[in-house]
C-alpha cells in the first residue's frame, strides 16, 4: 500500500507528502503513547495518533516511519509540518476516529507488527 492509497482510504488531507506519496507502507500502529510506539522495534511504517505535538514526528523519525496520520480531523501546526518536511515523513489528517481509521486500513491489508504477545 502506498501513502497515496492510505490517503484515499482514510479520505485524508495531506499536509506533507514526505519523500513521496508513492512510498510503500505495509505495517502500522495506532497509539497516543509515544513510549509504547518506541517499545516495539518492528518495522512499522505508519503511525496513527490523536496526539498532536512535534514529539509525534520525532518518534516516527526514530522508528524510521514514513507516514504520520492524525485522527479525528486533528490538524498539525506549522512546526510539525516543517519538521516532517525536513525529515521526509508524510503527514496526513483523517476525519475518522482512531478505531475506524485503523479498521479501514486493516480491511485493505495493512498489518500491525508491534504486538507484544501473540
Amino acid at each position: 500500500m502506498t501513502v497515496q492509497e492510505i490517503q484515499e482510504i482514510l479520505k485524508a488531507t495531506v499536509y506533507c507528502e514526505g519523500t513521496s506519496l508513492q512510498t510503500e507502507a505495509h505495517t502500522a500502529c495506532g497509539s497516543d503513547l509515544m513510549s509504547d510506539v518506541l517499545a516495539y522495534v518492528k518495522d512499522q511504517s505508519v503511525l496513527l495518533t490523536g496526539l498532536v505535538n512535534p514529539q509525534v514526528v520525532r518518534t516516527a523519525e526514530m522508528m524510521d516511519m514514513v507516514c504520520v496520520v492524525f485522527v479525528r480531523g486533528k490538524q498539525p501546526d506549522k512546526a510539525i509540518v516543517e519538521m516532517a518536511q525536513e525529515l521526509g515523513i508524510a503527514v496526513l489528517s483523517t476525519p475518522y476516529g482512531m478505531f475506524s481509521a485503523c479498521g479501514r486500513l486493516h480491511d485493505r491489508g495493512m498489518k500491525g507488527g508491534g504486538e507484544a504477545y501473540v
Binding site: S35, L38, L51, Q55, R58, M62
Partner: protein, 142 residues
C-alpha cells in the same frame, strides 16, 4: 573507522518540544557513517528516551556520545533531583511524570525500560539532590 568520534550536546530543560534534537542529529551522523540500520535505530531510540527523561525530570543536562569501531556510547548527565529508588524506576509503568508530560505522550513509565531494552549495556548512577548519569552502550557487531 579507527579513531573514536566524540560529540557533545546540551539538552534544554525548559523546552520539551525541543527534546530529541540531539538524538536526531546523532541518528543522522550514524547513518552517514554507514552503521547498520538496527544499530542506528537502537542508539536513536535509547538516546531519545534518555533525552526526554532529561527534559522531564532532570531540568536538562549534557550528553556525550562516543563512536568507536566497536560501539556507540552515550553518557547522559543531569543535575536534577536524582532517582530515590532506581529499581522501582526501572519497572515498566512506574512513573513520577506530571500530567502535563503524559498529555504529550510520554511519562508512562516506559523511558528507562526502553533505554535498557535498546542498549546492550546500561548503568545508572544517581544521587538524590545531586543528579543522575546514565551510561549506555550499543555494540556494532552483536
Amino acid at each position: 573507522m579507527s579513531d573514536t568520534i566524540q560529540l557533545n550536546f546540551t539538552v534544554p530543560g525548559d523546552d520539551f518540544t525541543r527534546a530529541g534534537e540531539a538524538s536526531s542529529e546523532v541518528k543522522g551522523i550514524l547513518k552517514k557513517l554507514g552503521l547498520s540500520p538496527m544499530v542506528v535505530r537502537k542508539v536513536a531510540i535509547a538516546m531519545y528516551e534518555g533525552e526526554i527523561n532529561m527534559a522531564i525530570h532532570g531540568g536538562g543536562g549534557e550528553i556525550t556520545v562516543e563512536i568507536s569501531d566497536q560501539w556507540v556510547q552515550m553518557v547522559l548527565a543531569d543535575q536534577g533531583p536524582g532517582i530515590p529508588n532506581v529499581e522501582l524506576a526501572m519497572q515498566e509503568g512506574w512513573s513520577t511524570a506530571p500530567d502535563s508530560v503524559r498529555n504529550l505522550g510520554f511519562g508512562a513509565g516506559m523511558g528507562l525500560p526502553n533505554m535498557k531494552k535498546y542498549s546492550d549495556e546500561m548503568s545508572i548512577d544517581s544521587q538524590v539532590g545531586v543528579g543522575t548519569t546514565v551510561t549506555m552502550r550499543v555494540y556494532l557487531n552483536l
